[in-house]
Symmetry: C2
Subunit: 658 residues, 2 copies
Amino acid sequence: MVMSRKVFHRLVDYREVLDIVERYVRLSPKGIEEVPIEDAIGRVLAEDVYAPSDVPPFDRSLVDGYAVCALDVARAQEDRPVPLRVIARIGVASQPPTFSRGECVEVATGAPIPYPADAVVPVEYCDEVSNDTVFIRRRVAPGENIDFAASDVVRGQLLAERGTVITPAHVALFAATGIRKVKVFQRVRVAIIATGREIRPPGTELESWCIYDVDTYLLASLLTSRRCFTYVLKGIVPDEVSKLKAVLDEVLDEVDAVLIIAGTSAGVDDITYRVLSQYEPGIVAHGVKLRPGKPTIVAVVGDKVVFGLPGFPVSCYIAYRLVVEPVLMKLAGARFSSEGPTVRARLLTEVRGIIGFRRVVPVVVSRRGNELLAYPIPIKSSSIAHFLSCDGFILTEPSTEVIKRGTLVDVILINQQLSISDVLYIGSHCPLAERILRKVLGPNVKLIYVGSLGGLRALLHGGCDVAGSHLLDPETMEFNVPYVRRLGLRDVVVVRGYVREQGFIFRRDLAGKVSSFRDIVDLGLRFVNRNRGSGTRVLIEEILRKEAEELGMEPKELASRIKGFHVEFTTHEAVAIAIAQGRADVGFGIRYVAEKYGLGFKYVADEVFDLVISRSAMSEKYIRNVVEFMGSSAFKELIREYSGYKVHRDTGTVIFEA
Amino acid sequence: MVMSRKVFHRLVDYREVLDIVERYVRLSPKGIEEVPIEDAIGRVLAEDVYAPSDVPPFDRSLVDGYAVCALDVARAQEDRPVPLRVIARIGVASQPPTFSRGECVEVATGAPIPYPADAVVPVEYCDEVSNDTVFIRRRVAPGENIDFAASDVVRGQLLAERGTVITPAHVALFAATGIRKVKVFQRVRVAIIATGREIRPPGTELESWCIYDVDTYLLASLLTSRRCFTYVLKGIVPDEVSKLKAVLDEVLDEVDAVLIIAGTSAGVDDITYRVLSQYEPGIVAHGVKLRPGKPTIVAVVGDKVVFGLPGFPVSCYIAYRLVVEPVLMKLAGARFSSEGPTVRARLLTEVRGIIGFRRVVPVVVSRRGNELLAYPIPIKSSSIAHFLSCDGFILTEPSTEVIKRGTLVDVILINQQLSISDVLYIGSHCPLAERILRKVLGPNVKLIYVGSLGGLRALLHGGCDVAGSHLLDPETMEFNVPYVRRLGLRDVVVVRGYVREQGFIFRRDLAGKVSSFRDIVDLGLRFVNRNRGSGTRVLIEEILRKEAEELGMEPKELASRIKGFHVEFTTHEAVAIAIAQGRADVGFGIRYVAEKYGLGFKYVADEVFDLVISRSAMSEKYIRNVVEFMGSSAFKELIREYSGYKVHRDTGTVIFEA
């Protein structure tokens, strides 16, 4: 597998892609069709639409009342009503008569205004004493209660331009002016082809060392979100150049554009790259100045555009949004800004760029008064769930070394609209914390999992309302509070959460055999440790220290005898899964996770999970409900469902304020 | 038509409607169906979905490189590489071997991590000198370039709750964890029935005094925008109680909810009200504390919900958004906030409430730095085009007399997402101004038509960038500048626009007969005047004054001899249309409009249309392009297309700065 690697010749900016493609092929819609206006939502208008008629088409009454000359009733008062002769009564769709000074016409809402009326007195200010005289008790200004002809839309006014994506507002304007059908561009047909030997379709059993196909469904649902696109799924193509080429050749006749997932680097194993190299003009751009998103291919095959998208889902998403979607929208005939919907927000921490690239920095957005705040969330290009739990992302400029804290940035939204939750939780993932917050707050909480320290840091910068933390301080062997102090958090309270049992996790067949590091050494078991800096690691080191002391040796020496003591995994789950899959024999973590993966567990010590809450959030009813719930008997009931979880004597009370 | 009018007994708040309805019928989805995840976009999830597997399912490499023990390469440097023995090479979907200290395994991106590796050194920092030894030139931190098992999604983690409206982000999570299908609630089926004798379907010839059906298509397209609704259109029902009842009875079997348009007041002619009164429990709320939107009916017929919506399109829209949509979303099983998407903005002028009602105040939203600004636009409930050209609306509280300028308000968005244009134009509607701005700015301009004075006021309050104005000052007989001075506008420039010919407009058969007010008097013609305060009215009064002087009489006396001189219409178009429809004989306005409606015209004087531009906008390239275009020869070409339009000697130059 020592491969010949081709360097990406010239990375392009995503904003150059449209121009590059158009050097080879004109990006324009394939045809026009006429559709009823109510079916035109989300489609792209193929013509400038001008109003064929005025709205309203005539002067009409906005109320039930009497059409008068405003001048005739200029002196009308409650106690000095002005009498007018009623010469006619007209409803809607009636020919308006003409009247003279001193006269009036009773009109229904929507009825035409008879000449020379220039106002309508609402019926509640009129007393009809006999069948032909009405007393008017109020003056009206000229124009009052009249909906003048063409006051809403003037015939010939531009209602919507060619290239507009049609919304309900346009449909209303079309209907109001009498338009029943409009010309729209044909939908853009897109084929999605997945590649990769390890990719399996969801809904099937997952073989070892394989992963499910995310990108096909992510792309399909992004395409579905726009009514001007349609798609066809071509499934997962076997990992052979000839097979991919055959599928591509076949599908090129049916569609306007093709998205091929993965295999986009320039190695011999990268079949997408190799296949697209075989066409003319073929690859027109290879490598985009995006991180993640770099290994994106733009190719032109005949008069069709073919994209090779990176396989890591976040990269794939970014490449779709910034590179593919603008091309597809151009093919759809739509006016479209490359980035789609954005909001402007103030950056809560500094952001480092990558020289020569636009770095994609996911952020969560919160609101303080009138201002939107963006807090950057560090994620990997493989972590699609983490990415999509964010609200949007910012892009650094290729020349940017650092964007300073406090800078106003444009956040490109992940969903079509920004939804600001009442409560923003950032911190460690714990199934019980998730359950509590969802139970009390329902959909009004947004949950972002970046670990305990990540949560406290977010709180420090004002990036969230609540952080969930289980950090053990090695000096004091206290949980969380020392970290709150050390980070210098201000205006926060620590609410005691609950206790989770920690201990050795191992294969079930080792039950009864593992209760110390000495057992691990004696049995020659493969250990996986936790990462330095984690609370669990602190506990592991403490246990190691005590055991070494009992054995009369240095902790370092004992550690060196443990196979894999240097192997650092970053979560409880990663440790348990490695053991469940037979890649290791023993680790250290919480009982809940051990039982979840069907592993053995030997209790050693307790870990405390607390909520750290900003003082301003604590004053909100939402959060007070959460804290109250944790102190309730209902919570004591709930925690029983979670094996290895226990209430603490201080559960639900504020144990520290800063 | 003196009717028996029933007073609305108790107006309800729109937020009470759900509870009121649920006293009679449980609002819940009618069933559940299973759909492939990519078809689930916009549907409502019928189950809590927990992750059935971990993502990723095993520890895998994020790069092409060498899986190592981080400790083994802790001292590696560019000039002091550390040699490791390569014991194996694995690609994706391969069983990982186990290695010992001092050894390593070459891994492809996505390949599983062999024990006891805890990091991967990217290939670019490795030199393989022989087939089994690699020199590592860089240290790696534990965990580096490893995508740990379950680091993105933990098995059992809540992916989405019952009641969630599914987005592409959810689909990605479902796919990643192996879910192929999800249970969603059945779509809510809605019938739309239009009523009203004067209503005609778009696409047909409009009879006199009739109007096109807007509401049916507005509602249909709003329903279309949500994939959890479907609808059936029942057309325009003849204006008879028995016929409406028959249609309603028939459709109630097919759908979950019915929307009946218009006839919702409590008069004898209001057939929707009369029909819904005949059912049990029938009308459960009549009248909502909304202005516009008050005459809304909520009825329960059997286990179905029937709404009577006010006929004026703005009222209909408001009733749909605030009263109907929350009920339909509950029927769809969705968690939904009653108001849909909102943004928070600072109010640029004070807003008066209506005690006892929530007043609907349309606003346009602009951005200054990080802040969104909301400028209220006064409109009538019939003016659907004006309303829908706004970005959203605010709601006053029933107890609010006034919301002060500068208050932060929640703007309920009209479209799903807010789009801030580069340039916001508020002012008079002129087809040439519209053409210029669209030509130069394309979709980057938002146009709001509220008249000349409305535009200058918006500019005064910082509510727009550009105002279009044709106001004549009676004192100086100068255009626009005196108004800019008098309103105290600051930091604006007046750019001279162009000239429009004004004069008498009359029926074609009067050609050659009308060139003065005296002719109008002599021929006994029906005149329609313009509203006081308009520039055209100033001109009319000036001409009248001169004519009266020549005739040796008071202007008042001459005016009194003109039939209809007191009749005030508010636009050029309203005047021309009244004449074209035979409701009047003569008026005063611009040549362009006269010719457009096929009327005769006699030139009297010129009117000047200027652009008033904020100084900050003038510094933007967009606006400089507009001003430059007006000074170009291309503009001189363009203006020829507009009959009665002429360039001014100062066209395109700044004639005044404040």
